[in-house]
C-alpha cells in the first residue's frame, strides 16, 4: 500500500508543471554554481602560490639593519579552502594574509575586496542554493501534500479505503520528497562530474568523505523542509493558507532568526571592538616600555652615578658587569610582564568574543537553515573552526617569529632622572632560512562533526518534530 502511494505521489509530481521547472533549476544552478566556484578556487590557488613565492623572496632578502630598525614585516598567507567550491563560508570574509611586525600582527585585505555589494551579501555557492532556493521549493512542494488532497477531494476517496492514515502520510512525504531528491541527485552528480573534468582532487585525502557529507547533509536539509511543509499542510484545510504560513516560516528561518540572533547577542553581551583592544594593548606596551626605561635609568644612576657617558671603555669594569646583569633582568622581566599582560587582554577579549558568539550561535540554531550552513561550512573547511584555527595559527606564528626574529634585535631606552635618555641596540644572529613557515592546522571531518553537535542536534530536532507534528495532526485531520 505504501509503495502504491509513493509511486502515485512520484507520478503526480512528474506530471505536474512544477517538476520540470524545479529540475531545470537544479540542473542549471548546481553544476553551474560548482563550475564557477571551481574557477574562482583555481584563480585563488594561483594567486596564493604567487604571493607565497613573493613572500619567500622577501624573507630571503631580510637585512639586519632593517631588523634593527624594526622595519621588517613578514606576511603569512592563508591557503584557499578546496571545498569553498561548495560552501564559501568565511572564505572571502577572512583576511587573505596577516602581516607580522615587531609591534604585533595586522590583518591584510579580504578576498571580497573587489566583489560587488550584492555578491558579498549572498554569494551563490552550493550551500546558498540549497539553503535559499531548494528549501523554498521543498516547502512549496509540500504545501499541498495534505491540504491539496483535501481540497481536491481525493483524500476522502483515499480514506474511504482500508488505508491507515499514517501510511498515507508516510507515503505522501516519501513520494513527494523523492520527487525533489531525484533531480537534485542527478544535478549533484553532474556537478561533481564537471569538477572531475576540471581536475578536482576528489580522491585526495578525505575530500571524498567531505563531498559525500555535503551531499547527505543537503539531502537531509531538503527532507527537513519537506517535513516542515508537510506539517503545515496537515494543519491547514486550504493550500492557500498553507502557502502563506510556509512563506512566513521560510522568511523566519532563512532571514529573521539568523540575523536577529546576532542582534540579540549584541544587546545581551556587547563586546569591545578590535580597534579598542588593539589600542589597549598598544597603551599597555608603551606603559611597560616607559616604566622599563625609567627603572633602567634609576639602576644606571645607582651603578654609575649621575654622570652620563656616551661610550665606555673597552675594558669591562665591575660596574659594567653589574649593569649588564641588572639590565638583562629588568628587560627580561619587562618582556615577560608585557607578554603576560597582552596575553591577558587577548584571552579576555577572546573569551568575550566566544561568549557573544555562543549566544548568537545558540540562538541561530533555532533555525535549521543556520544549523545547516554552520555544519556545511565546517565540513568544507570554511566555517567557524577554520576561522578559529586561522586565528590560533596567526598567534602561534607571531610568537614563533618574535622568538626567532623580532626579539633578536633589542633596543634599550634608558630614561635618566635628569630628563636625558640613552638609546642602545644589540643584535643576536638570525638565520632567515630557519624562520618558521606560516601554517594552519587543518580540521578533520570528525572534528567538524564533533564541534557541530549543536547543529546536528538542531537538524535532528527539525527532522523529527515536524514529522511527529504532521503525524499527530493528520491522525485528527478533518477530511470532510
Amino acid at each position: 500500500m505504501l509503495k502504491t502511494i509513493v509511486r502515485k505521489e512520484l507520478q503526480e509530481n512528474l506530471y505536474s508543471y512544477r517538476f520540470p521547472l524545479f529540475a531545470l533549476i537544479c540542473f542549471l544552478l548546481v553544476p553551474l554554481g560548482l563550475y564557477v566556484n571551481n574557477l574562482n578556487y583555481i584563480k585563488s590557488v594561483r594567486d596564493y602560490n604567487e604571493q607565497m613565492r613573493l613572500a619567500d623572496e622577501a624573507v630571503a632578502s631580510i637585512k639586519m639593519q632593517d631588523v634593527m630598525a624594526g622595519k621588517v614585516s613578514i606576511k603569512g598567507f592563508r591557503p584557499p579552502a578546496l571545498l569553498s567550491i561548495f560552501s564559501q563560508g568565511f572564505e572571502s570574509a577572512l583576511p587573505r594574509f596577516y602581516e607580522f611586525t615587531p609591534d604585533g600582527y595586522m590583518p591584510g585585505e579580504s578576498s571580497s575586496g573587489e566583489a560587488s555589494i550584492l555578491s558579498v551579501q549572498g554569494k551563490i555557492d552550493f550551500v546558498f542554493l540549497i539553503q535559499m532556493v531548494l528549501s523554498l521549493v521543498g516547502l512549496l512542494f509540500a504545501s499541498d501534500v495534505i491540504a491539496g488532497e483535501k481540497e481536491s477531494g481525493t483524500l476522502r476517496a483515499m480514506l474511504s479505503n482500508s488505508l491507515p492514515r499514517d501510511t498515507i502520510l508516510v507515503g505522501k512525504i516519501t513520494g513527494g520528497y523523492l520527487a525533489l531528491w531525484f533531480p537534485f541527485l542527478i544535478a549533484f552528480v553532474l556537478g561533481v562530474v564537471l569538477l572531475l573534468v576540471r581536475a578536482f582532487p576528489l580522491f585526495v585525502g578525505d575530500t571524498q568523505a567531505r563531498v559525500l557529507s555535503v551531499f547527505l547533509a543537503a539531502s537531509l536539509f531538503m527532507l527537513i523542509y519537506f517535513a516542515i511543509g508537510s506539517m503545515i499542510s496537515s494543519s491547514s484545510s486550504k493550500t492557500r493558507t498553507s502557502l502563506i504560513v510556509i512563506l512566513l516560516v521560510w522568511v523566519s528561518f532563512q532571514l529573521v532568526i539568523p540575523r536577529v540572533s546576532d542582534m540579540i547577542a549584541d544587546i545581551i553581551y556587547p563586546i569591545r571592538t578590535e580597534t579598542q583592544v588593539s589600542l589597549e594593548k598598544s597603551l599597555l606596551a608603551k606603559s611597560v616600555d616607559t616604566e622599563t626605561s625609567r627603572e633602567l635609568g634609576r639602576q644606571y644612576v645607582l651603578i654609575y652615578g649621575n654622570e652620563v657617558s656616551s661610550g665606555r671603555g673597552d675594558k669591562e669594569t665591575p660596574e659594567d658587569v653589574k649593569w649588564n646583569a641588572v639590565k638583562t633582568e629588568i628587560e627580561s622581566n619587562a618582556r615577560e610582564r608585557k607578554a603576560h599582560q597582552i596575553k591577558q587582554i587577548d584571552d579576555a577579549y577572546g573569551q568575550e568574543k566566544r561568549i557573544r558568539q555562543n549566544i548568537a550561535t545558540n540562538l541561530s540554531l533555532l533555525s535549521p537553515s543556520a544549523a545547516f550552513a554552520r555544519l556545511l561550512a565546517d565540513v568544507c573547511g570554511t566555517g567557524e573552526i577554520a576561522r578559529r584555527k586561522y586565528g590560533e595559527a596567526v598567534r602561534d606564528h607571531a610568537r614563533a617569529l618574535d622568538a626567532s626574529l623580532f626579539s633578536r634585535a633589542k633596543r634599550t631606552v634608558i630614561a635618566l632622572p635628569g630628563g636625558h635618555t640613552s638609546l642602545s641596540f644589540s643584535m643576536q644572529p638570525i638565520d632567515v632560512k630557519a624562520l618558521p613557515k606560516f601554517t594552519i592546522a587543518p580540521a578533520s571531518l570528525a572534528e567538524a562533526f564533533k564541534e557541530d553537535w549543536a547543529s546536528l542536534l538542531s537538524l535532528a530536532f527539525w527532522l523529527i518534530a515536524p514529522f511527529a507534528a504532521a503525524y499527530v495532526r493528520f491522525l485528527k485531520y478533518d477530511v470532510r
Binding site: 481536491s152 476517496a157 474511504s160 479505503n161
Partner: protein, 246 residues
C-alpha cells in the same frame, strides 16, 4: 425465507458537531444486500453526515455504524474493506489518465496485479468511451467523472456501496445511465445507500426511501408502499412541516 442481516446498519446514531449543531439525531437504519436505500432530505438534513459516519471520517457522538457487522468506530480499517464510496463530485487526479486513476484506487481497494484489459473492461461496463481510457481526467466532463467514480466502486467489488448525491449536476441521460449501473450493482447483491435530492430517481431506483429532516429519519417507505403514495407530496409536506423540537 430467512430475514437477511443488514450489510449497512446505523444503530441509534447521533452526531453533534463542536459548534453544538446536532447534525444527526438517533438514526436507525439498515441496508440489506441487494437493496438500494435512498436517503432524501434538504441541505443540512444529515444525509452526508450519515455517510461520513459510515466512512469513519468523523466519530459519532452516540450510537454505532456497522458495515458487514463490523463496528466502524472500533475497527475502521476492517470495515472499510467492505465498502465503496462515490461522492457528489468524484474527485480524481487530473493529471492521471482514467486508467491510472482506476489502477491507483483499485490498488488501494486491495485489487493488485490487475491487467490493463481488466481496467478497460470495467470502464466499458460503465459506458466510458474507449478513447477516454488513456485521456487525462482533467479533460473529463462531470458525467464522465461520475462514471469513472462508479467504475472505481465496481473494481473494488465491495458488498456495500455508499453514494453521496451521485447524480447531482448530471444531465438526464448521464443520470439515467448512472442509475442503470446502480441497478446492475444491486442485482449483483450489493447493499447501496444513496443520499440524494432527486425524489423521482429515488422512487425509481430505491427499494426503500427514507426522508431526513434536521438529523432525524422522519419517514421510511418501501417500494411497494410507494406504489400507492405520492412521494413528492410526502416529501414536500415534511419539508413544510414545523421544525422538530430537540
Amino acid at each position: 425465507m430467512a430475514k437477511q442481516v443488514s450489510m449497512l446498519k446505523a444503530d441509534d446514531l447521533s452526531k453533534r458537531y463542536e459548534d453544538g449543531v446536532l447534525a444527526l439525531d438517533h438514526l436507525n437504519l439498515g441496508v440489506r444486500p441487494g437493496e438500494v436505500y435512498c436517503l432524501l432530505g434538504a441541505n443540512g438534513a444529515g444525509k452526508t453526515t450519515t455517510i461520513n459516519l459510515f466512512l469513519n471520517f468523523i466519530p459519532p457522538t452516540t450510537g454505532t455504524c456497522y458495515i458487514k457487522g463490523i463496528d466502524v468506530t472500533k475497527d475502521p480499517l476492517e470495515a472499510k474493506k467492505y465498502v465503496s464510496f462515490v461522492s457528489e463530485n468524484v474527485m480524481l487526479y487530473g493529471n492521471f489518465t482514467a486508467r491510472q486513476n482506476l489502477e491507483f484506487f483499485a490498488k488501494l481497494g486491495g485489487k493488485t496485479n490487475l491487467a490493463k484489459e481488466q481496467y478497460y473492461q470495467v470502464m466499458r461496463r460503465v459506458s466510458l468511451q474507449e478513447k477516454a481510457f488513456e485521456q487525462r481526467v482533467k479533460t473529463y466532463s462531470k458525467g464522465m467523472r461520475q462514471k469513472l467514480g462508479i467504475s472505481i466502486a465496481i473494481i473494488k467489488d465491495a458488498p456495500a456501496v455508499l453514494l453521496d448525491e451521485p447524480t447531482a449536476g448530471l444531465d438526464p441521460k448521464a443520470a439515467e445511465e448512472f442509475l442503470e449501473i446502480l441497478g446492475e450493482l444491486k442485482n449483483e447483491g450489493k447493499a447501496i445507500l444513496m443520499s440524494t435530492h432527486d425524489i423521482f430517481r429515488a422512487k425509481e431506483i430505491g427499494d426503500r426511501v427514507g426522508i431526513m429532516k434536521e438529523g432525524r429519519l422522519v419517514m421510511e417507505r418501501t417500494r411497494e408502499e410507494l406504489q400507492y403514495e405520492d412521494l413528492v407530496k410526502i416529501y414536500i409536506d415534511y419539508m413544510k412541516s414545523e421544525p422538530l423540537t430537540a
